[in-house]
Amino acid sequence: MNCKEFRSTMGDYVNRMLGRDLAGSAEIHLSVCPKCASLVKELESTSVMMRSMDRATAPVGFEERLKARMAARQEHKPGIMERLSAVLRALFLPPGHRLAVRPAIAGLLVCFVIAVSIFMISQRQPASEMDWAYIHACQNQHATFAGTNPLADESAVALRERVRDLGSEL
């Protein structure tokens, strides 16, 4: 376990809520990392101090509201992402590595979107080329017809043709 992994589970460690294996890894890490050890000390002393403080009285109705919220939370059905995340976690990841799942899913999604876009662009390309070959043939003929009109602006017709050929380059 490294510092980052330990700190993500530090709260559970202090509250003695980690599984045996993870708790063992945490102990090993603390024995070699004075920084994390001092952080744990700080957190434990804060926790002791909190417990020693006088109990505050909750506002009227607080308990009911809290219970209602908790009940609602229990009824909450997990979304697709949560379910997918849970499945992946169960399949591939050891407990405590939750944070790695979301970037992985996001990465997969980005790859999927890029792959679909590349596929769609590659499908559209030939049609688009064909489209403009036909339209250009018609435009050339119309320019020939319109541009030779002595009452027309022949130079503007010629420039319009070049703008069409060069596109945004001009």
Binding site: P126, Y134, Q141, H142
Partner: protein, 326 residues
């Protein structure tokens, strides 16, 4: 009558006489000059679009004998030459080391000039003299042309009062905005321009592309016989528009039929091609509607034909024409 009053009266009458020339006469003179006057000019052209594009070019023109345009601006066009010797319209593009050869447009210009002169005689084009101006140091009449029915946009021309050459042209949209303008900043009239000026040799190392296509329009009946498929025609045309002719354009393994209409000032082309001429993927994607906004191109399918209209008239009118094609 006192002598001073008499002189004033004579001067006023003389001035009135000088202004007696009307727009129709100016335009008729201009059409005649198109085929004969030779000059070298520096020209500026601007397309009023987003973003606006401006080019500068040196123009050599010798009536219906030949023309040559050498682009000097913008950088991307610098060095390009378009030269028409009456046989070939050569377009040299140094940037791409490319020479594009197309059929000459001069025969078409002659046909058009005759067509416009007839339309003017028949009163199909209305011309108003709207003033006088000075362009490239030369006096010019300013005339406005529009088809008999005004709603399709108009054209404003500045015509040299002495040589009858068009010095400036403004294309005005049906909405009244300027779509494009070209004007000479310098012009020198010459007796003759050597034929060699209108011919461009392909430089070594340049690729040559040939674009085929008939320039001369044919009678529609002839095209109908040559097409090999049933040609459709519109039952509605905007007021003043008449059939100008038709043409067949070879395209891949098939052909595109082009029917051309004009009201004397504006043009409209209707293109039609059998579906099998084109890529099946393209056919699926060809939807009914304008092809890119503001381009005056409208495409649709009818039975096994692909149809396209190109014109600078209003899109509403293009749609109406398209809806009437049977």
């Amino acid at each position: 009558m006192r002598p001073i009053r008499l002189i004033s009266l004579i001067l006023v009458l003389a001035a009135a006489q000088a202004h007696a020339i009307d727009g129709r006469t100016i335009l008729a003179n201009m059409l005649k000059a198109e085929g004969s006057v030779a000059y070298i000019a520096h020209e500026v052209t601007t397309l009023a679009r987003e973003p606006a594009v401006t080019s500068e070019q040196t123009v050599y023109r010798s009536g219906f004998k030949g023309s040559r345009v050498e682009y000097t601006q913008p950088d991307l066009l610098k060095g390009e030459i378009r030269a028409d010797d009456g046989k070939v319209l050569a377009h040299l593009i140094p940037k791409d080391k490319l020479m594009v050869k197309r059929p000459s447009r001069i025969a078409g210009m002659r046909e058009w000039a005759e067509h416009s002169a007839k339309a003017l005689q028949k009163g199909e084009i209305e011309v108003d003299l709207v003033g006088k101006d000075k362009i490239a140091g030369r006096n010019a009449y300013v005339i406005e042309l529009h088809p008999r029915h005004h709603h399709q946009g108009k054209r404003k021309l500045w015509v040299d009062t002495e040589k009858w050459v068009k010095l400036r042209t403004e294309d005005i949209t049906p909405e009244g905005t300027v779509a494009s303008l070209s004007y000479y900043t310098k012009i020198e009239f010459v007796k003759n321009i050597p034929d060699g000026k209108f011919h461009v040799e392909t430089p070594e190392g340049y690729r040559v592309e040939r674009e085929e296509g008939p320039i001369r329009t044919m009678p529609l009946e002839k095209v109908r016989r040559m097409a090999g498929f049933q040609i459709l025609e519109p039952s509605y045309l905007p007021s003043g528009f008449k059939l100008a002719g038709a043409a067949i354009i070879p395209f891949r393994d098939g052909k595109i039929v082009s029917i051309r209409y004009t009201d004397g000032v504006n043009t409209l082309s209707l293109f039609q091609a059998k579906g099998e001429t084109l890529n099946p993927r393209f056919l699926k994607r060809l939807h009914e509607g304008p092809v890119q906004p503001g381009r005056g191109i409208y495409s649709w399918r009818k039975d096994d034909l692909n149809l396209t209209i190109i014109s600078r008239i209003s899109m509403d009118d293009i749609r109406r024409v398209a809806g009437s094609v049977k």
